[in-house]
Subunit: 349 residues, 2 copies
């Protein structure tokens, strides 16, 4: 274990040739320590500060095949997205991300250089999206399928968590971040990032990314507006979630949890999404935006009110449920389509 | 999604036929809520109490193939072991386990009943080994390889964490829990829990388990002495770790981290392991015991001293390192064999 070949023409170091301990010795130094880290990697467990006596925790897995293709995502993308999507769930509670742990399963023939790039993606996402957030621990295991399981933590700074159940009739509905963009990116990759046989193709995906970076990167390396989570909590958000499964499906979750009806304004949704009305279906049903969806007291947007925090834009309102109970409406009409992302029905999975 | 066949002869519900949401609705109610749970499953993230303003966190993955075989482990075993091994890392810091999150990746054709049994294993391990510990969240994803990634949390109750680096010359070395038993169980399974072609066989493993429950279950459903972790911290343990990779390898870790030499007494090791001296090699190198290895001030075991806490038994002492630096000795002689468990060289992986 830990030996490196003397032959300069040797194949690159892999997890198999260098072993877990040597691979970790190369990966761990690339990870950010984080301001909340009391005791970092290297012992049986890490110790993290939880200044208000509670911590927020979420876990989310990315599996090669259902969740990503190596032909489309670079190792850096995978690290970035694994961090970004988990940290977005922390922000959606109104918490400030403090740290994360990463369990990585990789085939034995994975080049260590790719694991280093994945670590850089984790580090860069923390630095760009949640400065001060560190990687406090992890696990590296050999397995057939590349899999990244991140567990992320946050600090509520003495505030109550913003759950899904606090929306009240009269509130405005708002969103911060892109709408439908990640789904458009995925669709583009399935349509054009493939070879003649429909198989994901790295060269074609790279071309597509160069042509349409904003759309493709919304899918492969999203930039959720994490700071708007705590900002929404401070501003008095009554309910909030991370838009991971599509606007319609996630809005319906808030409606049900809060026992209210949510009425989206189609025109406002399209304006918020920055798209023409022809894209409304994908905006309503496209998953993986990792934007923040929140409800706020209407006073905030009334004349003389302080307005909504950060990048939030009004896209609808909360009303009393009708005879059919809590539901989603668009332009006042029930929107019954299930829509949205379901990992069990992912295209191509 | 969520439909169940009306045909009584239909095949059992699987993750594919019922979908993620319906499967979770059956699994989540089986999980313990836990005394530290401020906000449990169902939102973007959970909220857990961290009364002393810090929390201890560890993550560890079990992958079908390298880490377990379905022919040997029941779903209940898998849930039990995933919880037990992670909670042992928490206890090894001197912390009281409070909660865990579980990311589960399962093939689409996995019967939901098996996922329920796995959840029961998680719940039963928490109840038996760390009462009050809850499952606060998780993720359920379809993938080709059954994989269980647990992240566990603990509370230090205002104590300093017991790390690997505090052992001092003069301390006694002690262990609580079995030694080499899990490795003997794994060896037995490889030798006798297989069919004529050497393939893991459920019927033969079940027979073996009925004949040698203590040894086989040390491997498949370990019972680490979790309460002895906080007890060791209270008693003044200077260093501690969870014996996951074999006594020799893990003792060497403490020696290096503490810049000391550890001298094990072969006879005391065999007595602590409850085995004849012929088993010393497997006791020294066998992994996955998840027993606690700790160093304590010698005053504890001096005449008139309080003795060691819980199930700890003296198996050696800490001495000044010699000219070769920190090392492991057995009976005063350097023990250079690497030994121990390495997931990259697992038998049959």
């Amino acid at each position: 274990m830990g030996r490196v070949s003397d032959d300069p023409d040797a194949r690159p170091d892999t997890l198999h040739t260098v072993g877990e301990i040597a691979a970790l010795a190369r990966i761990v130094p690339r990870l950010p320590r984080g301001g909340a880290t009391v005791l970092g990697p290297g012992d049986d467990a890490a110790v993290v500060a939880a200044p208000d006596g509670r911590f927020v925790v979420t876990t989310d897995v990315m599996v090669e095949g259902p969740d990503f293709r190596r032909a489309w995502s670079t190792p850096h993308d995978l690290g970035w997205k694994a961090a970004a999507t988990n940290l977005s769930d922390i922000a959606a509670m109104g918490a400030v991300p403090t740290s994360l742990v990463v369990a990585l399963i990789a085939p034995a023939d994975t080049p260590v250089a790719e694991l280093e790039q994945l670590a850089d993606g984790l580090a860069d996402a923390c630095a760009a999206l949640a400065p001060g957030c560190g990687v406090v621990g992890g696990d590296l295991t050999v397995g057939d399928t590349l899999t990244i399981a991140v567990t992320a933590f946050g600090d509520l700074e003495a505030r109550a968590p913003v759950t899904r159940s606090g929306a009240r009739p009269g509130d405005v509905v708002a969103v911060s971040g892109g709408l439908g963009l990640a789904a458009r990116g995925l669709r583009m990759l399935f349509d054009e990032g493939v070879n003649a046989d429909g198989v994901p193709d790295a060269a074609r995906a790279a071309e597509l990314r160069a042509d349409e970076p904003r759309i493709i990167e919304a899918q492969l390396a999203p930039r959720p507006p994490l700071a708007d989570g705590p900002a929404a909590a401070l501003a008095g958000a009554t309910a909030m979630l991370d838009l991971s499964d599509g606007l319609a499906l996630d809005a319906r979750r808030i409606a049900r949890a809060s026992a209210v009806t949510i009425d989206l304004d189609a025109a406002a949704v399209c304006i918020a999404a920055g798209v023409d009305a022809m894209f409304l279906p994908v905006v309503l049903t496209g998953g993986e935006d990792h934007s923040l969806f929140a409800t706020f007291p209407a006073e905030l947007v009334a004349d003389g009110g302080p307005g909504l925090p950060g990048g939030f834009r009004v896209i609808g309102r909360v009303v009393e449920p009708g005879d059919d109970g809590p539901e989603l409406r668009v332009g006042g009409r029930p929107f019954a389509a299930l829509g949205g992302w379901d990992s069990f029905e992912a295209p191509g999975s």
